[in-house]
């Protein structure tokens, strides 16, 4: 029988295998802990849905898969193999059934009666003989393919399928009465062909899904409906399937939360940086010699932005419930891409630095980010973010706000463009500086005034003195 990733809640779509408690080839008793999974912040050990031999583990430790994904195969032995040839009662995929879905198929295999009868300290012990097998629920999807095997030493029933037992648990009788099920039409998948709770529930949900089939219990199994939980796709010709890394998922979650939470708006100014280009050309060699780092355009923009942030503290704010926390200092977060993804180290106290200090801090943080040597407190506490896709060639970007910041500024590529200067067309080095901002915190006027200030700083400041070269 297939062991599937259980669903630990209606909203849970996937789980991570933390640990297999059995190896391939191990024997396992029904309800014995088989593996441990983790979803969100809840971990659980999952009991085996059946007794038998764990013949195959399909999903390794640390892997995250969708609910309903096949995780392992338990070979139930002789009885199970014979029974597998018989068509079983219809049952759909757990997450797909429109009604009664949560009822039958998602049933975790913990059996109340077996649980009580089985000493916890010795999970290998066989279930006590008085446990009515019909009360032991099976994982329904698996039961649809292979009836659950008998307990190893269940002396009450032969291991293969005999005539249907007349012994019905009170639970089954009650369920049958509740749902007006004619039990003679239900195919039993329990030990000795007994009708289990799941058989009844599967019958009920199948009846609801396909009314015509209700009267024809011999009908072939319903085709599995498309599952809400999508198993990992198999790689086709010329394809490669790569699982998402932890950091990729974390970035995804962070970005998705931001786009869902913030009221993002976007504003751009174009900045004439002709004099900055000339300054950098003139100063970069001396700068590297004196300060040991390359001079890029980013420190100029960081410096110009810090001044504007101090002037417009609402752009440098954090929304905290129904309050705004205005920062009177600037901890500048700089987006840095590296092989594993994106990280945003923070220049603490950036408002106390000149352009040289900023250039050194940027170079240091970026280098250590790429070497994965950042300390935890170096990626927290930022008040505003700058991203810098320009070196890769983009001329316009619409970044997602790095929550809880109010805004993120994008520095794109500097390009020579024809512009109008003093009513004449001239060629100048121009750059688009744009900002995504949270309309919950500021409005267009502040955003635009802020950007205009950044532009003015970049166009009018004489950075030469600040560079110390």
């Amino acid at each position: 029988m297939q062991v599937k990733m259980p669903q630990l809640g209606e909203t849970v779509v996937e789980g991570t295998i933390l640990k297999w408690l059995k190896k391939e080839g191990d024997d396992v008793a029904q309800d014995e802990p088989l593996f441990e999974i983790s979803t969100d912040k809840v971990d659980t050990e999952v009991p085996s849905p059946a007794a038998g031999t764990l013949t195959k583990i399909m999903v390794g430790e640390g892997q995250t898969v969708s609910v309903g994904t096949d995780l392992a195969v338990i070979d139930a032995g002789e009885g199970g193999a014979q029974l597998a040839e018989e068509p079983a009662a219809p049952a759909g995929e757990p997450a797909a059934q429109p009604n009664g879905a949560a009822e039958a198929p998602a049933e975790p295999p913990a059996a109340e009666a077996a649980r009580k009868a089985e000493p916890v300290e010795t999970p290998q012990a066989e279930p006590a003989a008085e446990v009515p097998a019909a009360e032991a629920p099976q994982a329904a999807p698996a039961a649809a393919q292979v009836p659950a095997p008998s307990a190893p030493t269940d002396v009450q029933a032969p291991p293969d399928r005999g005539p249907r037992s007349q012994i019905l648990s009170p639970l089954v009788r009650r369920l049958a009465a509740e749902h007006e099920v004619d039990l003679s039409q239900v195919r039993g998948t329990g030990t000795g062909g007994r009708i289990t709770k799941n058989d009844v529930l599967s019958f009920v949900s199948a009846r609801a899904e396909r009314p015509a089939a209700a009267a024809i219990p011999e009908a072939p199994p319903a085709p599995p409906a498309p599952s809400a939980a999508v198993p990992a796709p198999a790689a086709g010709e010329g394809q490669e399937v790569v699982p998402l890394t932890h950091i990729r998922k974390a970035i995804g979650q962070h970005m998705h939360t931001s786009i869902q939470t913030t009221a993002r708006a976007w504003t751009m100014v174009e900045v004439n940086v002709d004099h900055l280009v000339k300054l950098r050309e003139r100063a970069k060699e001396a700068f590297r010699e004196k300060h040991g780092v390359n001079l890029t355009y980013l420190p100029f923009v960081v410096r110009a932005t810090i001044d504007a942030l101090l002037e417009y503290p609402h752009v440098n704010a954090r929304l905290d419930g129904e309050n705004l926390v205005l920062h009177k200092f600037v901890n500048m977060a700089i987006a840095v891409s590296y092989d594993a993804g994106l990280i945003v180290p923070v220049i603490k106290g950036a408002d106390g630095m000149n352009t040289v200090g900023i250039a050194r801090a940027v170079a240091d943080l970026a280098a250590r980010a790429r070497a994965r040597q950042l300390k935890p407190d170096e990626v927290q506490g930022g008040t505003f973010t700058i991203t810098n896709p320009g070196p890769y060639g983009s001329v316009l970007s619409v970044p997602i706000i790095n929550m809880p910041h109010t805004a993120i500024l994008s520095l794109d590529a500097i390009v020579k463009r024809p512009v109008v200067v003093d009513d004449a067309i001239a060629i100048r080095s121009m750059v688009n500086v744009s900002m995504s901002w949270d309309h919950r915190v500021i409005d267009g006027e502040i955003a635009t005034r802020f950007l205009a200030r950044v532009k003015e700083n970049l166009e009018t400041w004489d950075f030469a003195e600040d560079l110390g070269v």
Partner: protein, 233 residues
């Protein structure tokens, strides 16, 4: 139709290992049908606990420095990453049978609800986070939640609500692996001292309401509790 359940609230500071062991023992008894649902409410001496997903970089201080500070460090079986327990923090371990088809997410949300309601009783408005478990004020966490299920059925571990907690203990770690978020306490938020003893009855009341329980105080002596629990069935 509230289900009767036991409330165990030992006085003083309870050693983490004792409580952890008692909780697991109670859960095994619960699973075996030998005991009913139980809620343990305690305060621990300073201890850092690392859940299954802890990462080395979440511990800012060295282990030596942590021990030198008078705190212990424990690596345990719950979900989640690192957290701190200590004086001034109300820690709750509900050992409940969540049934054969547990909705673990719902259970965690219910725990959050209990804390949100209890905090509201002392005038502090808290909320959930869209992405992270726990109970928050703004971007600061007031109550950590970490849960494990035994046999996909009986709950272990629970919540840790900062009442008068000395928050400087959190400097040693990146709580729950969240580098961007801070930690706070009910006392800080309320602007007055909100003691564990003030919150405990409120938490009990809301546990009863949210989980439909009727909590009967149990005078079991600590740490003789596990034996008592085992014989309760």
């Amino acid at each position: 139709m509230a289900r009767p359940a036991r409330l165990i609230r030992p006085p003083g500071l309870v050693d983490y290992d004792d409580a952890n062991e008692a909780m697991h023992e109670l859960a095994r008894s619960r699973l075996a049908g030998e005991a009913g649902d139980t809620v343990i409410l305690v305060e621990h001496p300073p201890v850092y606990t690392a859940g299954r997903r802890w990462k080395a970089e979440d511990i800012v201080w060295s282990e030596d420095r942590i021990r030198a500070s008078g705190a212990e460090l424990r690596f345990i079986d719950r979900g989640g990453s690192l957290t701190f327990h200590g004086p001034g923090q109300l820690v709750g371990y509900p050992v409940l049978d969540l049934g054969a088809r547990p909705d673990a997410v719902r259970y965690v949300r219910d725990l959050e609800e209990v804390v949100i309601r209890a905090a509201a009783d002392v005038g502090v408005e808290l909320h959930r986070s869209d992405v992270q478990t726990g109970v928050w004020s703004g971007h600061r966490k007031v109550c950590a939640i970490g849960v494990r299920l035994m046999r996909m059925r009986v709950s272990l571990h629970g919540f840790a609500l900062n009442c008068t907690t000395d928050l400087s203990w959190y400097d040693a770690i990146v709580p729950c692996g969240l580098s961007d978020e801070g930690v706070t306490s009910l006392s800080q938020l309320a602007g007055r001292t909100v003691e564990v003893d003030e919150m405990a009855p409120l938490v009990v009341r809301h546990l009863e309401a949210v989980f439909d329980l009727e909590l009967e105080p149990d005078r079991a002596e600590w740490p003789s509790l596990p034996a008592t629990a085992a014989s309760a069935g």
